[in-house]
């Protein structure tokens, strides 16, 4: 109980000491909070998006076969499908029809796709929420498309996908096969690529190898690669991410270095006086420990709270301009708040612990000097 009282008294003294230099310490807390906020926002956002991608893309096609000519993807002949389907382990396969359409009115690219299961009547389309919001078109309206031969093709909107699906379907237009062929031309003997379902996941590499041997002009994309791509999409090594992290880390190093490199004359004198009035070195260290903890713990907690609110309540409003780039059609999505606690713990140990240690070391040096000489300087 006595120990606890001592801690409380020293904590009181620490707070009074910090409040004496209110301006400086508040600025310190502000910068520290901002630092944690930036790092935590990036960590929360990237983890949530990776997790969501890994969950929803689990059911994407197991194997995609694309035809490649001179390094570019070309239409694949549907006759490739028959021998591929005969490979042992292949359950089913189909030719997928999809492509891009540039809309000069808003300057955006749409993804056009012919669904396998959903049967759309010719002349009808389903569109993503992003298109509806940007073009201000709604169910019942018609959209005009200029086809490959310069003709105007009018398609009526049957359905707009719900806003919750924006992360996967914001720029998506589903249309009937006839309309797709009329819009882009091309022979019915060809598809954009082939998608395959297999019986046993472990057979995937063998099947891929067999297809590659059978058709050397094809490029095969496995679902595992799709998932891996999204796992590494916002990797810390990736472009801007590394700059944010390095920038924040450098700021923190300067921050801690400033603390560790020494105390101000005023602080040294304060320690001298405390020792002269009977404080022990351990008391002084405890005082400095509390000072470091007060600043770093408050900043860390505030930074984490604000980062969570920023990413999951405002849909990462401050990160969005960087993510949008030049995109005209940017999906407005709300991420599911998947949190990786190990990341939060790492952030804690990378910010709170070094700062607190950096405050104690110079104080320990000052606390071990003779109080008389400290007060005279």
């Amino acid at each position: 109980m006595e120990g606890w009282e001592r801690q409380k008294n020293i904590l009181d003294f620490s707070l009074s000491s910090l409040l004496r230099r209110k301006g400086k310490n508040l600025a310190l807390v502000f910068v520290y909070t901002l630092l944690v906020f930036t790092l935590a926002s990036v960590l929360f956002f990237t983890h949530a998006i990776k997790r969501e991608a890994s969950l929803i893309l689990q059911d994407s096609p197991e194997l995609i076969v694309q035809k490649s000519i001179a390094g570019r993807q070309e239409q694949i002949p549907l006759r490739y499908l028959e021998p591929i389907q005969k490979i042992r382990g292949v359950q089913s396969g189909r030719g997928r029809l999809w492509g891009y359409y540039y809309d000069p009115i808003i300057g955006a690219n749409y993804t056009l796709m012919v669904p396998e299961k959903q049967t759309l009547e010719s002349g009808k389309i389903s569109i993503g929420q992003g298109i509806s919001k940007t073009r201000l078109v709604f169910p019942g309206d018609t959209m005009e498309f200029r086809s490959h031969d310069g003709m105007l093709l009018q398609l009526q909107i049957q359905q707009v996908f719900p806003s919750e699906s924006e992360l996967i379907a914001s720029d998506l237009i589903l249309l009937a096969e006839d309309d797709f062929r009329r819009l882009f031309g091309g022979s019915r003997e060809y598809a954009t690529d082939l998608t395959l379902r297999v019986r046993n996941q472990r057979e995937l590499p063998t099947i891929a190898l067999k297809i590659a041997e059978m058709f050397p002009d094809t490029r095969i994309i496995l679902r595992e690669e799709i998932l891996r791509t999204y796992e590494s999409i916002f990797n810390w090594r990736g472009g801007m991410m590394v700059f944010i992290l390095v920038g924040a880390l450098l700021a923190f190093i300067i921050f801690a270095w400033d603390k560790a490199s020494g105390l101000s004359l005023e602080e040294r004198r304060e320690i001298g006086i405390l020792k002269a009035v009977g404080w022990e070195t351990s008391d002084v260290l405890l005082l400095k420990f509390w000072e470091g903890t007060i600043i770093s713990l408050s900043s860390f907690l505030m930074g984490i709270i604000w980062a969570y609110a920023h990413v999951f309540f405002t849909s990462a409003a401050l990160l969005a301009p960087a993510l949008k780039g030049w995109a005209v059609l940017y999906p407005e999505f709300k991420l599911t708040p998947f949190i990786d606690f190990s990341q939060v713990a790492t952030l804690f140990f990378l910010t709170v612990v070094p700062y607190t240690v950096a405050t104690i070391i110079p104080s320990w040096r000052a606390a071990t000097i003779d109080p008389d000489s400290v007060m005279r300087t």
Binding site: L11, L15, I226, T229, Y230, G238, F312, P337
Partner: protein
């Protein structure tokens, strides 16, 4: 007495933040549970429509369908190649192109 109040105030401040954090944790768990039906719906859409990518960057074909991109595009020739679109400074080239 006055100094005691400061320590108490600090504890109260940290406690409030702790409670907010617990609330946020509860919010996270609740929201994950509440979003399950939409996650399932999105999974169904991916399965039925055979989608392969998230609609995150609509600037260019290869940033829209990152996993379907070929080696022809600017930044995918090399991870250090200059990129035309801002997305390229955020994204890494797709896994299968880095082999």
């Amino acid at each position: 007495m006055n100094s005691m109040r400061k320590a108490k105030k600090f504890f109260f401040f940290i406690l409030t933040q702790g409670i907010i954090l617990i609330f946020l944790l509860a919010h996270s768990l609740y929201q994950i549970h509440a979003d399950q039906s939409w996650l399932e719906e999105k999974k169904r859409m991916v399965r039925d429509l055979e989608l392969t990518d998230l609609c995150l960057f609509t600037e260019a074909n290869y940033t829209r369908h990152l996993t379907q991109a070929d080696r022809h595009t600017a930044f995918q020739n090399s991870p250090l190649a200059l990129e035309h679109f801002p997305s390229g400074s955020i994204l890494l080239p797709p896994e299968h192109l880095k082999k």
